[in-house]
């Protein structure tokens, strides 16, 4: 039995908008084991992004517990959460979310600045990571000078900056054509296989979900189906 990295226990997220309440998550249970590749699927509005934000400590639940290494993080304050995010989690977003005024290299060094890593180490590590995603030639390019697939690879390099245990990818291929999308997926697979990273990926694409070891189907903020690909 593998160790749990993150466990969501009966997690509720309620968004209040005036008089109406939106129940984005309704008693979600999710146990993510060390080194596993999990895909989350489900219709639009089913709460996938909300769930990923909880796993990534970007948000706290209205109700329920989020256990990270046996500690409940759902009551931590924003600064403590930020520290956990910075060290343990790497985010990859659908819209790439690079800082437009910074070069590829600077974008990759940014998470290390927030962790207080020294400049020399930052730059050599960022260069290595950009080499890993085959962008060694483009390190001084700004995001606007890169294609979508290249930007997403910069984002992958950035997610690895602080060598996190968990990579969270919310529809990483959503803005890419299938060919560039599969390149991105290949990198995620490699991270999983070669580096033993825990990977959680949201996708709409059933074909892509087959690279995962396990697929969870979400509907109305709850798991409605689980699938084991192993």
């Amino acid at each position: 039995m593998k160790r749990s990295v993150i466990r969501l226990e009966n997690v509720w997220k309620v968004y209040k908008m005036g008089d109406t309440h939106v129940n984005a998550l309704q008693g979600l249970h999710l146990d993510i084991k060390e080194g596993e590749f999990l895909a989350i699927m489900g219709p639009s509005g089913s709460g996938k992004s909300t769930a990923v934000n909880m796993i990534g400590c970007l948000d706290v639940p209205t109700k329920g517990r989020i256990m990270l290494d046996q500690h409940d993080i759902s009551r931590l304050d924003e600064s403590e959460l930020a520290q956990i995010r910075g060290r343990k989690i790497g985010f990859i977003f659908q819209q790439f979310n690079l800082i437009p005024t910074l070069t590829a290299l600077e974008n990759v060094t940014l998470p290390m600045i927030f962790q207080g890593t020294g400049e020399g180490e930052r730059i050599s590590r960022a260069k290595k990571l950009l080499g890993l995603v085959e962008l060694g030639e483009r390190i001084y390019h700004k995001p606007t000078e890169l294609s979508g697939g290249q930007q997403q690879r910069v984002a992958i390099a950035r997610s690895l900056a602080n060598d996190p245990e968990v990579i969270l990818a919310d529809e990483p291929t959503g803005n890419l054509d299938s060919k560039t999308g599969s390149i991105v997926i290949d990198f995620l697979k490699r991270l999983h296989k070669a580096d033993g990273k825990t990977i959680i990926m949201v996708t709409h694409d059933a074909a892509l979900s087959r690279v995962a070891e396990r697929v969870e189907f979400l509907k109305d903020g709850k798991i409605v189906k689980s699938l084991n690909n192993k």
């Binding site: 970007l58 979310n97 998470p111 602080n162």
Partner: protein, 404 residues
């Protein structure tokens, strides 16, 4: 880390050049005005202080109090020769001189003007005057006891600036209808009032102005510099008795150069404070401009804030990044302002000296003023950036990420 945020801010500022320049205008105009005013004010003060140092600290000046007069009469209170005799009898005095200044009509060929005329006493008195006011002769000779209708001109006349004609030695000018021969030229002293004056023998001035007794200023040199204030008190009580006035109701003033300087400096400080206060309003406006720009930046970069938080930025980091940016806007504005400010004050000095001949206008430079102004401008930027930066730092990461 701060250095990284500094570079980060520098990048953002240069990325939005036009907006950054527009924002900085308020700051650099304000800083330029404040720096120029301080520089010129301090320079002026120093120049005045130098002038007073030349006079020396062992001198007293006795003048009639202006605005005093017997009730019901218009007659202004005057000092007269008798008062001088009283002062002269006081112990501890090394030397004494009394002189008169009147406005007179000065004519040369067909040019006419009204100028200040100084009646120069004779003998030891004249020597004390020359020492105190540092009167030198540039051309010709000084006045002698035997002179009756001789005149010294300052080189403002020689340079044709005052009377419209070039006066030179041995020219004959008419002062209040009497003819005087120019025997000497005094170089410019930098004191604009003195530089416009004519110097004539005291007796001649008494004659043309019909003032047989009046003395405008009694100049006293004391033997012992350290006893100057007790000497002033002693002379005061002697004069009080002689002029028959009560204590604290004196109709005359006794001032030492320090006192004159002190009251002068006080006035200058007030004037300077008021001017700097006005200039500071533009700094306030500049600061509000920075706050406005930063609020806009925070809204525009909401998504960026969300991204930075998602990759591990704490509230403190976001706060510092934005504070650094607003501080830097202030600082760059300050650098330009300091350059402009010193440029302005040295230009004013140059124009005053070369074109207007006013030596007292001096620009003052010091590193503490330079760096003080820079630190202050950074502080303005950072201070006015606090609220926007706080707003940025408190953004919820998920909400910020969802914004477009």
């Amino acid at each position: 880390m701060l250095r990284d945020y500094f570079n980060f801010a520098l990048g953002t500022i240069s990325h939005r050049k036009l907006r950054s320049w527009l924002t900085m205008i308020g700051i650099f105009i304000g800083i330029a005005a404040v720096v120029a005013l301080i520089s010129l004010g301090q320079g002026f003060k120093q120049a005045i202080n130098k002038e007073f140092e030349k006079i020396g600290t062992d001198k007293l000046f006795i003048t009639a109090k202006s605005g005093f007069g017997a009730p019901g009469t218009n007659a202004a209170v005057e000092l007269v020769e008798d008062d001088m005799d009283v002062v002269k009898r006081t112990q501890g005095i090394e030397n004494i001189a009394g002189y008169l200044m009147v406005n007179s009509k000065v004519e040369f060929e067909d040019e006419v003007g009204f100028f200040l005329v100084l009646g120069m006493p004779e003998g030891d008195e004249r020597r004390l005057m020359q020492e105190t006011y540092n009167i030198k002769i540039q051309e010709g000779r000084g006045l002698r006891d035997s002179d009756e209708f001789s005149a010294l001109i300052t080189n403002g006349y020689a340079e044709k600036k005052l009377l419209g004609k070039n006066l030179k030695l041995r020219d004959k000018i008419e002062v209040s209808g009497k003819e005087f021969t120019i025997v000497g030229v005094i170089p410019k002293t930098g004191d604009p009032e003195f530089d416009r004056a004519l110097v004539l023998p005291l007796d001649a001035v008494r004659e043309i102005s019909n003032e047989a007794e009046r003395i405008d200023v009694i100049l006293v040199k004391v033997v012992n510099v350290n006893s100057i204030s007790s000497m002033a008190e002693r002379i005061k009580s002697d004069l009080r008795r002689a002029r028959d006035v009560k204590k604290d109701e004196e109709d005359f003033d006794i001032q030492t150069p320090e006192q004159l300087l002190g009251s002068f400096n006080d006035i200058l400080d007030i004037v300077q404070a008021v001017l700097i206060g006005i200039a500071a309003i533009s700094l306030l406006v500049g600061g509000v401009g920075i706050a406005n720009t930063m609020y806009t930046a925070v809204v525009e970069r909401t998504k960026e804030i969300g991204i930075m938080k998602s990759i591990g930025a704490q509230n403190r980091d976001i706060l510092l990044i934005f504070l650094m940016e607003s501080g830097l806007l202030g600082l760059i504005g300050g650098i330009i302002g300091v350059v402009l400010g010193f440029g302005l004050s040295f230009t004013v000095e140059f124009i005053a000296k070369s074109a207007l001949g006013i030596n007292l206008v001096e620009a003052y430079f010091s590193y503490s003023l330079l760096f003080g102004a820079l630190a202050f401008s950074f502080l303005i930027g950072a201070t006015f950036g606090i609220l926007p930066a706080r707003q940025a730092s408190l953004m919820r990461p998920v909400q910020a990420l969802r914004s477009k």
